[in-house]
Amino acid sequence: MSEALCAVTRAYQEYMEFTEEQLCGRCIPCMAAAPMIIDVLERLRRGDATAADVDQLERICAEVYVTALCKHGQKAVANLSQAVKDYREAFSLHAEAKRCPERSCTEILRYQINPERCTQCDRCREVCPAGAVVGEPYVPYRADNYPYVIIQEKCTRCSACLEVCADKAIEVV
């Protein structure tokens, strides 16, 4: 799996660190907005958010910045606002295309096998820990050789198949 983190994940991790270590809960905006901010970020990372959610996230951040009591709360939302502004593209991609190019938002990813490239070598089926890959190895001269497929409901996005595939037949979108 790639080490690079997408902007959404970075913003999410930073905000979670704030809620775990600094958020005191004594002033209302900061404390009441936190569950909503977390919710939007989590949905973005899952691929359940829309463009409207990103707009709302920006609005919440801006308002909390105005109303929060202390600089810690203000800093947290200011950083988040900045992230949305700087990485607008990444946020839009998560919200609209439901894609995470850095593949750090695992839940949004979709593993699929390109039938054109699949040689039915069976390696991916062997390594898949979830049994999500189905297919039969290639038998020469047989008429019913079909390429392998990944059952999305079973796939855990562990990327094991990606690593064993010698033919680059597995694509992540």
């Binding site: 809620t19 775990e20 958020l23 005191c24 809960g25 004594r26 002033c27 209302i28 905006p29 404390m31 009441a32 907005a33 936190a34 569950p35 909503m36 709302q56 919440i60 308002e63 909390v64 105005v66 109303t67 929060a68 009591l69």
Partner: protein, 833 residues
Amino acid sequence: MADLVTLTIDGKGISVPRGTTILHAAETAGIKIPHLCYCPGLKGTGACRICLVQIEKVKGLVVSCMRKVAPEMVVHTNTEEIREARRFVVELLLSRHSGLCLSCEKSGSCRLQQYAYELGIERPSFPVRDPGYPVDESNPFIVRNYNLCILCGRCIRVCRTQGSDILDFMKRGIETRVSTALDKPLQEAGCDFCGSCVGVCPTAALMEKNRRGKGREWEFTPLRSYCGYCGSACELYYNLKKDEIVRVTTEAPADYLCVRGRFGYGYLTSGARLTTPLVRRDGELVPAEWEEVLELTARRFRELRDKYGPRGVGGIVGALVSNEAAYAFQKFIRAALKSGNVDSGLRFSGLDLLRECDGVLGGPKGYASLEDIAAADVLLVIGDVWRRVPAVWGRIKRAADRGAKVVCLGLYAGRPTRVAQVWLRPVPGAEHLVLQQLAAAVLRQVGERRVRQRVAKFNAFKKELASAVAVPTGVGAEEIAKAAELWADRKAKGVVVLAVDGVTPETGRAALNLCLLTGRLKNALFLGHSLTNAQGIWRMGAVAETLPGLQTGPRVTARFARLWGATLPDIPGLTAKEMLAEDSPVRGLYVLGENPVASFPGCDRVAARLKKLEFLVVQDLFLTETAGMADVVLPLAATAETGGTCINVEGEVRQFREVLPAKTLAAWEVIGWLASKVRLDAGYGVLRQLKSEILTAAPGYGVKAGGTPRPAFLPVGDAVPEAGPDGSLRLVPLAARFGFYEGSWALHGGIRALCRFGGDCVGLAPEDAERLGLEEGTAVAVTTAYGRATAVVRIDSGLPPGVAAMPAFAAKTNTLLIPEAPNKPVAVEITKL
């Protein structure tokens, strides 16, 4: 004034004193800034962020409840930017407020709802999450639904300021909520249900339990009156809906009421209230007509008076009735029955001490008020006064928070001892000696010369101090010295907080001497009393020695004879003590609003004596123990039904309001009717007429602003606590024990929640309980030289070893006490049943 600050708020120029917050300044200009966490009377925290305003040349928005005004400030309170910020905060709050306004009790008076309306929030922009906290209904008074909590922290601050200090924010961040330590239910956390938190809660998170389902606040009519329980007679508002009391509120949300004031109104509407006269027929009390009963009463009193002379009849009045009732009562006994035997139950709860203190302090103007306590720098809190007059506690706490030094004298480890700098914990019965030793130490610091000039009888006082110094009291010299240092600081405003009915007379006199010693004569002694009208009853002349207005002497008697148109008996008639003595001549007795069989010390003997009467009339709210023995029982109307006045512990005349429709005739109407049957008479039955007569007889209700030019030290006496053998126990009546009031109203009125153990328990220190092999809840026999009772053991670590505490005011406790000295500890045996 020099330090006025002029500023502009919303275009209005206003001048306010320096140090005012913008919120207050705006209020004076009639501009209301919405706020949730700020509550008048409590410190601000600036947490809710609703009261945001804009100040020109200041970056960002600022909270108006914290920001102080500055000259030339230009403030805007209602721009679109501010409204947007406020709207956002309210929307956020709504996102975690899962309540349904449609069915909410607080609907119409909820601040959150009001602001949502004012800011035009039509539908929530955020999804609503239910926090899913369980609703706590485990106590009898308060329902806590933290799903509706907006974490404004008002309840926490009010609990810290004047309550039990048990609430706080628990956890952190998103999981923050208000709770007690370890999430214990209130009754286990040490709450005494003053209900201040309910009073300040802006939503329905904290609600009175009894109020549920009884309507919305716009349907209630709040009627201002005074509480009728203890001597402080706190101001309160009965909120009525169609003649039913639905809730009790205060003028400002953070004003203090105790559990009795806020939740104890049930006695007024209790089904157990007497509403018709009862008469004894074939040994049974049966309902009868007023006419018939009063005819019988008048005839019997006439017969007894003719047979045994005027000394054969008498009357005892309780200290919970109004001035008017007490006045009419004593007039009836004196002018109509022509007997001097009129007295009050106050005789057993500090009447002499009250009179002595009043004499030295020169009338109520010299008493300390509750506000004096709050403003004091040094407080000397004696005994369980904070339970007898609960309003005292809030003031002590406020003073302590402000930095006042508190010295506590008492054996119970209660709340005042926690805020005290010095806790003097004597062996029971040595309280006055500790005060004497304290006085000796103070005298050494103050110097004799000036005291001798200022206060008379100094030599006798000094002699008593010398004899008290060496007596062991259980209090170390170090503590005495520490307390003396605090008290000897004559520049500090010092107040002695005393419960007149909760201490021995020696202790009370020693406390007064301490005030005199340091020149604290004016507003330095708080004369707390458990009974509402303790001050009024004796001023109205309902005691054996004096006529209304504290007047005595042949000329006064003659004047009253003219006023009442009757020949009057010799004025010092028999006191209650003498009337109830074994060999007293009294054969017929009229008892008004008093329950001697339960509330007089040595009440077993009282019961035996009452059985020997030929005729007993009892007029009371409930069918009390005494009423159960009576030949005629008359119903009594409560002060909240008939109006009338009382005089509270601060010496103020308080006018009760007729809040509820009367369940029966007013006391003076009954007495007037009765008087007309004994002797043709007028001038009792109509309240207004009675009041003007009282004002003639006792100008200003006898609240006189006299004054003693040169006060004198009072003799304290040299009573020394008897030292029993090791391991022996002393019985002490203690109001501080077992939580709530144990009074006849609560008991008979069916407000069981107010008397948790029904006055049926004996408190022991854990050590003693272990030594005696007793456990919590063991049934025991408690025996003193004066009586025997059964009780249930309650182990209380607040008690010192060697003390058995029983609730004050309870009948069983009174059975065991010395009839002459109710507050004196007695040797007691406790055996397992």
